[in-house]
Symmetry: C2
Subunit: 334 residues, 2 copies
């Protein structure tokens, strides 16, 4: 037991309002987890992350020096090599050397990762553990980890994807792979915060929903779906457009990267199965008009992130491991 | 010399009207090359490929049994594992086990590859040899082959891209990575052959040009550009829309995959520098309205394929090598 107890990997996900903290062992089993509020601004983010790490170590009855690895997921543009974070607007952070600052106060190496990338790694791990959706593709091909590929489509305040190929994050040449939220798909669409028009993000994100369906309801997407089910014509129109735009995001990920599976998560995914079924219906309807699209079996390749799982914090923990074998699959963090 | 003479890698590119044949050594140097007409239909394609291989062997004064590897690039959907080719419409081929049929008649292993993927590998090699374009990204990052990534954007009759990451083709989970030609970017755009509307292919390919600017000129894109330069308003409008759509294809590749460099080739690339400068101008103009796009430096990351190089045949030769070191860079063919 002693040797196993030494393998403790901490993952921290710093969100706009709350911070998730988990500790996993080398097999990915969750040892402890808890949640705290995120304090605002650079010093707030640093103290929240420090508090999360110290809280986990305390619950593990371990000094921080005995922790195997620490990974932190954070929104914004993150240089995973240096640990520098810029433009984390929700956190009130313009420029912060999160990795090195946190390493200094904790006296432990810290790996920083963009939160959507971390969530992608977490979702990949969870699906590897719990079973991938049954797609039309032969299991033998899927089982080949060099071909096993997934995109995590995050429908949060913004829209972005994280790409995992053969167990490793594909961050791209400059760390911006999966930034499909700013691909315009309608020249006549609304103006996006990025300055372009008709971007996916302005059509299929939490902010897009808030603009079109303002509500005080704690679960706005559920509220929209209920209103649509009740026959509200505006809600039906907004819901329909939202589902079409999410389906377009799935289409872009499969056509450009040809990931086998697209996993949808983020606040919009809180609508649950009705959302998934709605997106699948759009994909199936489009396939009927295009044999080419039909041959891609898009509807079979989309699924929701397992409900309630702290995938970003889990993924942050995985991202902190340099290289390790999880349930027989090599998880490399390039 | 004897040992070196044994390393002869043949690459065949089977196009709709002509077949390119090259032989390279293990460093990628071209030993011999020639061109022949492509015969129509499955048996025609087979005999053309066989003739190309035998012609190369003859010029190399080598029996086929002494050839190190044979790779064949061919349009259509190609299973690079089995060598099966389906839907190669231009060649009159509906379904052909090209790899195994050719292996049988030549008594030599043959690797089959989609022609755009082969061209991507060829372009990657040529740029590695001749120098990558100067992008805004630090040379040290580019020099790291694990991050070195490129998309080859083929503007031929159709529109598709081949993706090379760290020297290896990324074919995707089902071999359809880079099929961005069928991403719709304008709901009001023309109907595409795939059944959707407003696809990139129907806006920015050779067939899109032929539909909008029918001409008997041997170089239709040059003809269009000359007419636009001469003040023809229809030509100016068509040219402008074409450049915008190509720029949109570049944007999709960088946002989704974050390849460092997008290399444009295919018949439309015959317009040369005016095309490249036109695409860059669109990308720069868009960057002025979007700080986010500006930060991606898209204009600096796009270039044309080196003129006159038989990149598809070269790439086919590389794809036939299982694993080899080219000019110090590991070229893996997964």
């Amino acid at each position: 037991m002693a040797a196993e107890e030494l393998s403790m990997h901490l993952g921290i996900d710093i969100g706009g309002t709350k911070t998730d903290a988990v500790a996993i062992d080398q097999t990915g089993e969750v040892l402890v987890q808890f949640r705290l509020s995120t304090a605002y601004g650079a010093s707030g983010v640093l103290s929240s992350a420090e508090e999360a790490v110290r809280g986990l170590a305390e619950r593990l009855n371990s000094p921080i020096s005995q922790i195997s690895s620490i990974g932190v997921g954070v929104p914004g543009r993150v240089d995973s090599t240096t640990g520098r974070v810029v433009h984390a607007v929700n956190l009130g952070v313009e420029d912060l050397n999160l990795g090195s600052e946190l390493s200094r106060v904790l006296e432990h190496e810290v790996h920083a990762e963009n939160d959507v990338n971390a969530a992608a790694l977490g979702a990949y791990h969870l699906l590897s553990a719990r079973g991938w959706p049954e797609t039309g593709w032969p299991a033998s091909a899927i089982g080949d980890s060099s071909r096993h590929s997934m995109a995590y489509l995050n429908l949060g305040t913004g829209l972005a994807a994280g790409i995992v190929i053969g167990g490793a994050l594909w961050r791209g040449s400059r760390g911006t792979a999966g930034e499909i939220g700013h691909i315009p798909i309608d020249p006549l669409g609304p103006v996006c915060s990025c300055g372009q028009s008709g971007c996916l993000e302005v059509l299929a994100s939490g902010s897009a929903l808030a603009r079109q369906w303002p509500t005080e309801h704690p679960n706005p997407i559920q509220h929209l779906f209920e209103a649509a089910a009740g026959g509200d014509s505006a809600a039906m129109r907004i819901k329909s457009k939202l589902l079409e735009s999410i389906a377009s995001a799935v289409r872009i990920l499969v056509l450009a990267v040809d990931v086998e599976v697209v996993v949808i998560g983020g606040g919009i995914a809180a609508a649950g199965d009705p959302l998934l079924e709605g997106v699948r219906a759009v994909l199936k309807e489009r396939a009927q008009h295009s044999p080419f699209l039909g041959s891609l079996e898009l509807a079979e390749r989309v699924c929701l992130v397992p409900a309630g799982a702290p995938i970003s914090a889990l993924g942050a923990a995985f991202s902190g491991m340099k290289s390790t074998t999880i349930r027989g699959e090599q998880i490399r963090v390039a």
